[in-house]
Symmetry: C2
DNA sequence: TATCGAATAAAATATAAATACGGTCGAAAT
DNA sequence: ATTTCGACCGTATTTATATTTTATTCGATA
């Protein structure tokens, strides 16, 4: 097992600890124990605890973005894509929330890479929605005047669903809440003669 | 100044303290000081601190509902009403958030009337949106299949705007974010031939 | 190069003393 | 009779301090 493999292994173990017990209660000794090496050996692979945490967050964020992208790639129509996106995003967020649960403002100030990863997810979300909407326009299914602002609005609508959807484990295709919100976003409420 | 007047005065002072420093840092001695009476005299008008808090929350919630309703009554068209509602609701919420800022779960358990007032606001919001949408349907401006679920969706969309709108003091009519979200809710993004 | 155990420094936690605060009561003032 | 008050009590909160836990360093070793 070479250096890189071991680094990955440590990150995996640390991620397990953090998602289960949080950042504070995860100790270097605990990680070392699971990895079957002395505590001090960890410092051969990482500069410090913060460094491991950063690696964990980066790895998980990356995996989650991949998962979301894979899910929306499975369907073809833009409407289905939007539905799949919301579904994947919510379950993804639920997993990530374990990492962020203990997060205070001072914590965010101290470990700025957390902010950075969040910012990255925000950009990913904007790009993905933008991508889906553009595809819908090209296919002649959507008609959008101001693409940027419409993206923003849809993202805001998705964020409004968070409190309800994040509580439930998963919601099947055809979930009435998501379904209804999408219907609203697609058709609007104005009467067309 | 009779008994009732003094009660109102105390509630007003307490509300001022709570909105500025929060519930915990508001002391009976502080309120008494501003009201120019001894701490113990407060207990002649209210049973305990919790009682004052309850009176403050009730008063403010009532005032805010009145303010919101007054604002949407000033305009006539359902689209304007929805716009006015969001505007009024957000500024209202900003004031109220000062009361709720320090709120933890255990706090909510202890002071159940806070939950109660929140529930009341939720009902008020549902009714108001319902009212506006129904009016729009009658006037032939809106066309809504499932009224209840559409209400829910619009409320969720409004909640998604909170994080952005609550930060700013006030947003003029024609604010691009609100304007754009409303446009989306009204017209949707589906192409109509 | 990779691993370790022991030593150190910093942070978290537990303990004890001091203070602040909500609430009570009986007396005084109006 | 109604309203105000100061003194008092017990508990919750804060502060100060001791103790333990934990992150990190370092020299030795295989």
């Amino acid at each position: 097992m070479d250096r890189d493999e071991k680094r990955k292994r440590i990150v995996e173990i640390a991620g397990n600890f953090i998602s289960r017990f949080g950042w504070q209660k995860t100790t270097m000794e605990g990680i070392a124990g699971k990895a079957k090496m002395a505590k001090s050996s960890l410092y051969y692979y990482f500069q410090n605890k913060e460094d491991i945490y950063q690696a964990v967050i980066e790895r998980d964020s990356r995996m989650l973005r991949q998962k979301v992208w894979a899910d929306i790639s499975e369907v073809t129509s833009p409407t289905d894509k939007l539905s799949a996106y919301i579904n994947a995003r919510m379950t993804a967020l639920q997993r990530l929330s374990n990492y962020y649960s203990t997060l205070t403002d001072e914590f965010l100030d101290k470990y700025s890479f957390v902010r950075y990863e969040r910012e990255k997810f925000k950009l990913f979300e904007e790009n993905t929605i933008h991508h889906i909407l553009t595809e819908g326009c090209i296919k002649g299914i959507f008609k959008i005047e101001n693409m940027q602002k419409t993206c923003d609005s849809i993202i805001m609508a998705i964020k409004g669903m968070e409190p309800i959807l994040v509580l439930r484990k998963n919601f099947p295709r055809g979930d009435s809440i998501v379904e209804n919100m999408l219907n609203l976003l697609f058709n609007g409420i104005r009467y067309k003669k």
